[in-house]
Symmetry: C2
Subunit: 218 residues, 2 copies
């Protein structure tokens, strides 16, 4: 089972990352690492990583600005995380057209993992997702209810879930609630044995998935 | 009259920028220039610019991520633009506390200039602004109605307005509708004579402001 996306918030040696490459479904990289390492540094870290690379930029701007940003990064990765709430016209629509042309994927944020996020806007966000038809969605492990709703509304979309570990959700819970992949960071990259930790987590995910499938069929 | 913030979307020679320094109310720098120039490049461009520097990052993430991002940039500038939409708890609240401690300013986005932005959420955004009490707000020159509403709701906040020029609003209109500063980019940095252009725009702003004041008192 390969249902972990590694959130690489701190640099990992490219040799370790090479070994991890086949063990995870991808890695997620955000602004802090980009600022710390610069584009050349990111390129170096990723040089032996042969798998999906998702840039978690939480883009939320007008079309031209987002297209400029992704232009700088498109040769370093495969996918971009974008906020649905900025709306379609003169923003996400134009970015989606650009990323399609470049064979890059878009994930839209359907909900977030922190307490302050307001899910009352989900009906609007759902409309933006429908119009955009992105490759995937981000939905939080910390909010089972909205995660289940997103899965029900968009059963064919790839759903990736943050919020596991430090933010409170348990490994495997998001998979039970409809996520395709769980995003896990520091408990892997801070581990003395990242690959051992990944294998351990995958075992937990599998057990948890079996448990909840059994519960469903009872 | 000094009511222009220069949107520096492309690098300007630091000598020109030095001369511009006293003619504008500040400059605004976004992710595209940061990606293009790197932190060292940005530092070089800004080395003789002795005025406000606003990082327009449109931050929209959880607290820890936004704090990491602003930590990397806090020694290079004065202010950060953040999306109110992400909500207060575990997000903007913690970032505000951090920026206050660092003597940095926060601007919250109250509305955006592009067609797809949905102002139905303004009542919620207004609540987030009230809770946060930021230094300033971003409100679009392209939407006079919402700009006037924001000014009425937050008369004491510094309002900066994008959307002038390429996006359709005319110089001076946002000032008439309640903005404190107008953000202007390419028509200045693409000009052969940036300072001459700034002086010309300031004259237009002044005339426009006098016109609309006269219209009000009629």
């Amino acid at each position: 089972m390969n249902k972990i996306i590694l959130a690489l918030d701190e640099p990992l040696d490219y040799k370790i990352l090479k070994d991890i490459s086949s063990q995870v479904a991808g890695i997620k990289i955000g602004w802090p690492l980009i600022l710390e390492q610069g584009l050349e540094g990111i390129k170096n870290i990723l040089k032996n990583f042969d798998n999906n690379i998702i840039f978690d930029l939480k883009l939320a701007d007008i079309d031209s600005t987002m297209i400029k940003i992704t232009t700088h990064l498109k040769n370093l990765g495969d996918s971009f995380i974008v906020h649905a709430f900025v709306g379609y016209n003169e923003s996400i629509r134009e970015l989606k057209e650009f990323l399609d042309k470049e064979n890059k994927k878009m994930y839209l944020v359907s909900s977030m993992s922190h307490k302050g996020w307001n899910d009352n806007f989900y009906p609007y966000i759902k409309e933006v997702i429908k119009m955009t038809n992105p490759y995937g969605l981000v939905a939080p492990a910390t909010r089972p209810k909205i995660l289940k709703t997103v899965k029900k509304d968009f059963p064919e979309k790839i759903i990736i879930s943050p919020g596991i570990g430090a933010q409170g959700a348990k490994i495997g819970d998001a998979l039970c609630n409809g996520a395709n992949y769980e995003i896990i960071g520091r408990s892997i990259y801070n581990s003395k044995d990242p690959i051992g930790t990944i294998l351990e987590f995958q075992k937990i995910q599998e057990e948890r998935l079996n448990e909840c499938k059994r519960a469903e069929t009872r």
